[in-house]
């Protein structure tokens, strides 16, 4: 199944199956990450730099800033939603996200 996933308007939102599904402006908590020194980073999503699919996950690398420590940067891949049976299920921003390195290996 080919599903169309892209970021638009300078990374302001992610389109999945030609509908806007995920937007900038949310805080997302990251565990097992090397984005910053915080055990649990609290990252404001300012832009989606890259998007991809690792079925069933819809993933993105996020440009943002940890509001706990102030570190800015781009995250490893994190799941922002899942595509199951033709439907999109967002990952709740307030849940704790586990990341995958850009080279595909698990973080930790």
């Amino acid at each position: 199944m080919a599903i169309s996933v892209h970021q638009l308007d300078d990374g302001a939102w992610i389109s999945v199956d030609d509908a806007r599904r995920v937007s900038v402006g949310e805080l997302r908590r990251l565990a097992r990450h090397d984005f910053c020194g915080c055990a649990l980073a609290d990252v404001l999503v300012e832009g989606f730099v890259e998007v991809g699919v690792d079925p069933p996950d819809i993933e993105a690398r996020v440009a943002g800033q940890c509001i706990a420590c102030g570190e800015s940067g781009v995250t490893d891949w994190l799941a922002v939603g899942r595509w199951l049976d033709g439907e999109f299920y967002p990952v709740a921003p307030e849940s704790v996200h586990l990341l995958r390195r850009s080279d595909g290996s698990p973080t930790g």
């Binding site: 300078d10 302001a12 509908a19 402006g25 805080l27 404001l44």
Partner: protein, 591 residues
């Protein structure tokens, strides 16, 4: 690999988008195939239509490009009529009502809640008045900016208005330059105040003189590669080229062709010419331009007027912003009116058009500080115009906090935004005016508020820069700002230094009050705020002041981006009345 957007542009782009746009308009919103939404909305930008953010599906922002901010006699009334008839949404804005016009920081006009079904009628109305939305957004020549009183200014060294008009005629709808790697922002200025803001544009023509063939010639020096977006602000670089007014079109053609051919089409984040300038530097840039794109020998730069610049220059005494009553060289006057955050309710826009016709020539101009100017007023009509009630709300002699306020679109309509902007800035400005005394002699104090790092409100060139952020208060996410200090233009432009980070939105006015109190206590003599900031290191600036809660109340602390419209009574995403049919009725979701 070329980006997805480049692929869509290869299929259909430029002037030919219009035909399809009109077909969709004829058949209605639902005729746009769902799996082509993203591609079409990207293309519609070229015709000045920007799909509004999540929750506002089927409504568009429409941008009208008015070169140099000039609205010829009659055009403002047309804009008001279009706004009145077509720019009304499902819910009013609590400050500005049901229909309003935005004057933007690039001397353009933005209307909101536009329906695609109405676009052909709107275009007909605009175009019959000589107005257009062509290339107002999208990857091509955007609206050309400059000194808003070009041709009517006693400060003018070269008349830049015919040059701006010529560039507008030449490059709007020109197939050779219609598909660039990214937006292309041009400033042409002939005045000695520096109000064209050339330093923050992709291409800038600034007044200069040079001896050529034994003759003193008035023309322009050329700078390339300015821009503020994405935490990567750049001032345009001097490429050591002097240009006669009659060569401006050739030089512009060469430089925008260079950008077309050499700009990055693989990565949109790296596409603006400022990044090519980072890579090449001005010498290589000039050499490639000369060799590959010019058929005459480019003269080296002339002597510029930058040391005379007063506009946003961090000095006191002269504003350089064209607000107030000023003499024109022809003996008439122009009156610059302060429009807080650049937005006027439509009744006020009609009234402004009436006043311009009654007292002036009917012409109105827009400035890069989101203000409006009535031109061509004879001396004997001045007093009567100044007595008009409209000028109580849009003052020619505004309080500095009103005069200094700029705000972008924000979460009200914009997908990129992190926070609410315009209505908040209105409240900030009013609170500051009522509660904070400016130190002696300070008449200019700029507070620019942008909802995100795209920096449409140009925060980095303000005394106080506010950039949308989030923080937590009692564990709950709230809207916040990163705060910078001490930015501005002038001879030696400077970007604000980011000093107080993630300040909750309701503590920002208190912070500004505390900063100003510290400035008053510690300043040396007549030191300007910008000099005061420049004289201190980061640590000293961080210790200058603390954010503070005050009696300022902020109604937009919650996550306004997660509403469908921040000012609706029922603002939750699931209450959204969109997408809607042309009659406003909601189209039920079919999945």
């Amino acid at each position: 690999m070329p980006s997805k957007v480049e692929g869509w542009k290869d299929e259909v782009y430029g002037a030919e988008i219009r035909e399809r746009l009109f077909e969709f308009a004829e058949e209605g919103w639902e005729s746009i195939p769902e799996d082509e939404h993203d591609a079409w909305f990207e293309r519609f930008k070229w015709w000045g239509l920007y799909h509004q953010r999540d929750g506002q599906e089927s409504y568009f922002m429409m941008r009208i490009g008015t070169p140099n901010g000039v609205l010829k006699p009659g055009q403002l009334r047309t804009v008001a009529e279009v706004a009145d008839e077509y720019a009304r949404g499902p819910v009013d804005n609590p400050e500005f009502g049901g229909a309003y016009c935005d004057w933007t920081t690039r001397q353009s006009i933005q209307l909101h809640w536009i329906r695609i079904e109405d676009v052909p009628d709107i275009f007909e109305k605009l175009e019959s008045a000589g107005l257009s939305t062509i290339q107002a957004c999208g990857d091509s020549w955007r609206n050309i900016v400059g000194c808003p009183v070009a041709g009517k200014d006693t400060h003018e060294y070269v008349d830049a208005w015919p040059v701006a008009e010529e560039l507008h005629e030449e490059f709007k709808g020109n197939e050779l330059y219609e598909n660039l790697p990214r937006k292309w922002k041009v400033s042409v200025t002939g005045c000695d105040e520096g109000c064209g803001q050339g330093d923050i544009n992709d291409l800038a023509f600034e007044p200069a003189r040079k001896e050529l063939d034994g003759e003193q010639v008035r023309g322009f020096n050329v700078r390339v590669g300015g821009g503020l977006s994405r935490k990567e602000p750049r001032f345009a670089k001097d490429i050591d080229v002097f240009c006669r007014p009659e060569n401006a079109t050739d030089v512009s053609a060469g430089i925008s062709a260079l950008f077309r051919d050499h700009g990055d089409r693989d990565n949109r984040f790296n596409a603006r010419i400022k990044f090519l300038m980072d890579e090449w530097g001005p010498e290589k840039f000039r050499a490639v331009l000369q060799e590959e794109y010019m058929d005459y020998e480019l003269p080296t730069a002339g002597e510029d007027l930058r040391e005379d610049y007063t506009y946003n220059a961090g000095t006191q005494g002269e504003h350089g912003d064209h607000v107030g009553v000023h003499a024109q060289p022809d003996g008439n006057y122009y009156i610059g009116l302060d429009v807080l955050v650049g937005r006027m309710g439509v009744e006020d826009v009609y009234e402004l058009a009436d006043l311009a016709e009654e007292y002036g020539s009917g012409e109105v101009r827009l400035t890069q500080r989101q203000n409006a100017i009535v031109t061509d007023v004879p001396e004997e009509s001045l007093d009567a115009l100044l007595d008009e009630p409209l000028l109580e709300d849009y003052s020619p002699d505004p309080h500095p906090f009103m005069r200094g306020s700029i705000a972008c679109t924000g979460t009200e309509f914009c997908s990129l935004s992190i926070v609410e902007t315009k209505n908040r800035q209105v409240r900030y400005a009013r609170w500051l005016k009522d509660n904070v005394e400016l130190p002696a002699g300070v008449e200019d104090f700029h507070v620019h508020l942008s909802g995100c790092t795209a920096s449409c409100a140009q925060p980095q060139i303000a005394d106080v820069s506010l950039r949308g952020m989030k923080t937590r208060k009692d564990g709950e996410p709230v809207e916040a700002f990163d705060i910078g200090l001490g930015g501005g233009l002038g001879e030696d432009p400077h970007f604000a230094d980011w000093i107080a980070m993630r300040v909750a939105a309701d503590e920002v006015p208190g912070y500004i009050a505390n900063v100003l109190a510290a400035f008053e206590d510690e300043r040396e003599g007549e030191e300007s705020f910008r000099e005061f900031v420049a004289a201190r290191d980061e640590e000293a600036l961080e210790n200058l002041a603390e954010p503070a809660e005050t009696d300022y109340e902020d109604p937009f602390m919650h996550n306004t981006k997660m509403t469908w419209y921040p000012y609706a009574d029922e603002d939750g995403m699931d209450a959204k009345p969109t997408p809607a049919r042309a009659d406003g009725s909601r189209i039920p979701a079919d999945d």
